[in-house]
Amino acid sequence: MQNLHQLKESPSQTAGPYVHIGCMPNFLGNTGTYPVDLGVSPMLDGALGQAITITGRVIDGAGMVLRDVMIESWQADAAGHYPGQPGADANVTGWARFAADFDTGFWTLHTIKPGRAPAPNGQLMTPHIALWIVARGINIGLQTRICFADEAPANAACPVLARVEHKDRIATLLAHATAPGTYSFDIHLQGDAETVFFDI
């Protein structure tokens, strides 16, 4: 038989507990190499849209809060355009990187609420922020999405949420408003409330 001459993706390995050294050295306190950490904000001054703050924790199957987790987020601007697309808000860079507090385990994302971007079939996806989660004990980065409980009509019409077969699990993807402009979003790695993770 002929050979397809295709390469395999490099196998993933855990980020381990010391991921901050390489990805967030200033957050860790290792100042002196990079002037600033990358991804401290997904936007610049003047970004259009509703400014929001999302806080949460990542919780393991024993109920322990992860204090060594690092998360990256990627999102569209308020009109649903991704950076680089025609018409995109030049003040939205879209990507952020944040870690759990070493003591409390809480992480925080200050951003703007994204708009609806089209799915491959042309239907609009609900406003969402994609997350990629790495930590010690996580062998390959976990992919999930933050959607918003206060976007019920868009959620109901979202072709991605429609892929979640067990409808009661959609609730694990919804951030809930705790005050105007402030949302809460915990991620559960295991258990009854296990967050929906995607194979994309």
Binding site: E9, Q13, Y18, G22, Y34, G94, M125, I138, R163, I200
Partner: protein, 244 residues
């Protein structure tokens, strides 16, 4: 101009049999951190097909020189070049993407508040570096060979010498963190983290060979480590019904 990886288009699905599964009990921390439900399968959308871009303006002149980039005084250890290419599944270079690394110092100690190993910190070694791939997909670091270190898992587990790699593609769905190991290290076969990779061929993809052609005489040895990212599907025929 090399034929480079396409920067747009649907991502080819991950081969989950090639990557480590989430639940790997010999690596104990995975037991409570592995999702237990099946992943929800989703073809890539615009969200995963787009991603952040980093310009060379983020780089300082010593960012890829871990021997000097902390204090300007040289770190202690065996000087090595670590170089390679970032490729897609068709072996086309992926240019202009960010590669970040971190590692222990020559004694096996990390500059991290959570690492209490008794090997000393090197005052001139932070252990982080970054580079952006060239038009031919190449990157290069100058560093010291990291020491092996013990870690709390089973009663006497040691990490082989390794460098952690964080790699961006052109889409957020290509994000990858992995580790590079060194040819000939007897601790590789014993390591429960290495052995989360299901196949020997997969492990072999993470072991960098000694590269004497890139070594600099009377200066440093070299290791070559190519990284492969998920590819994008080539659209040969539009998957669209007549009249639509």
């Amino acid at each position: 101009m090399p034929d480079t990886a396409p920067a747009t288009g649907p991502l080819i699905g991950r081969d989950r049999n090639w990557h480590p599964p989430a639940y790997t009990p010999h690596y104990k921390t995975s037991v409570t951190r592995a999702p237990q439900r099946a992943l929800v399968a989703l073809g890539s959308t615009l969200t995963e097909e787009t991603g952040p871009a980093f310009g060379h303006s983020i780089l300082g002149p010593l960012d890829n020189n871990l021997i000097l980039n902390f204090t300007g005084q040289p770190a202690i250890g065996e000087r090595i070049i670590v170089h390679g290419r970032v490729l897609d599944d068709s072996a086309r270079p992926v240019p202009g993407v960010l590669v970040e690394i971190w590692q222990a110092n020559a004694g096996g100690r990390y500059r991290h508040k959570k690492d209490g190993y008794l090997a000393p910190l090197d005052p001139n070694f932070a252990g982080c570096g970054r580079a952006i791939t060239a038009p031919d997909g190449r990157y290069e670091f100058l560093t010291v060979r990291p020491g092996a270190y013990p870690w709390p898992n089973r009663t006497n587990d040691w990490r082989p010498m390794h460098i952690h790699f964080s790699v961006f593609g052109t889409g957020f769905g290509q994000r990858l963190i992995t580790q590079m190991y060194f040819e000939g290290d007897p601790l590789i076969a014993r390591c429960p983290i290495v052995n989360t990779v299901p196949s020997a061929d997969g492990v072999g993809q993470l072991v960098a060979p000694l590269d004497m052609n890139a070594a600099i005489p009377m200066d440093c040895l070299a290791y070559k480590f190519d990284i492969v990212l998920r590819g994008r599907r080539q659209t040969r025929f539009e998957n669209r019904l007549e009249g639509m």
